[in-house]
Symmetry: C2
Subunit: 124 residues, 2 copies
């Protein structure tokens, strides 16, 4: 199970990278509230650059988590939404962020203590 060459482990690893990348989770949770157009997502996630939003959406689409519907009008219209697969990921993601929210104080205190006990050079 821990052999990094096994397909299962590589897929999990890929998924974790996707979860860990800077914007995927934010996009998935936003789309979890309902379909969005490209610039709607940009507005709801102000810090994302248009380049990274595009890349993130492409990756999520490739993994089958997000659907992309193009309406070839002038101006063009593209709607993004979670697929059923993407919907099913919301639950484990929520579990993770719930954990994070529940333990943010403890983590911060651990970091503070760690930084204090070692040299206080790396005071993030």
């Amino acid at each position: 199970m821990k052999d990094p060459a096994s397909p299962v482990c590589r897929t999990i690893s890929t998924l974790l990278s996707r979860i860990g990348d800077k914007w995927s989770v934010l996009v998935v949770t936003t789309l979890g509230e309902g379909p969005r157009r490209f610039n709607e997502l940009r507005r709801e996630i102000p810090a994302v650059s248009q380049r990274m939003l595009t890349l993130t959406l492409r990756n999520l689409e490739r993994d089958g988590l997000v659907s992309r519907a193009v309406t070839p009008s002038i101006p063009p219209r593209v709607d993004y939404a979670l697929t059923p697969l993407g919907e099913s990921l919301r639950c484990p993601i929520a579990a993770l962020s719930d954990w994070a929210i529940a333990n943010v104080a403890e983590i911060h205190e651990a970091q503070r203590r760690f930084d204090h006990e070692h040299d206080q050079a790396a005071a993030a």
Copy 2:
């Protein structure tokens, strides 16, 4: 909630980065089976370099997820173990990897279809 400047979001983001980095989850799940010494971990996770294992353990220790116990003998002995906080993370992590395992086939098929529909240049 989506303001990236908010402390909560920054902490979640940090946690997700930790989850998403290449080795943290593997280390946490391995330590979930019981305490391990440094080189035991290296043996159980063959692909990790000693540098990255050190860094990963330091980060996890700083976040309060892993404890580090030094026995100053010759040769030195260092035991790593999950803290209660680290233990509590095993559940959401398991939820995530269960999801990944359950959906690996569907994800692969989505990727295959995506790569096929677009140019087959990026055949990962």
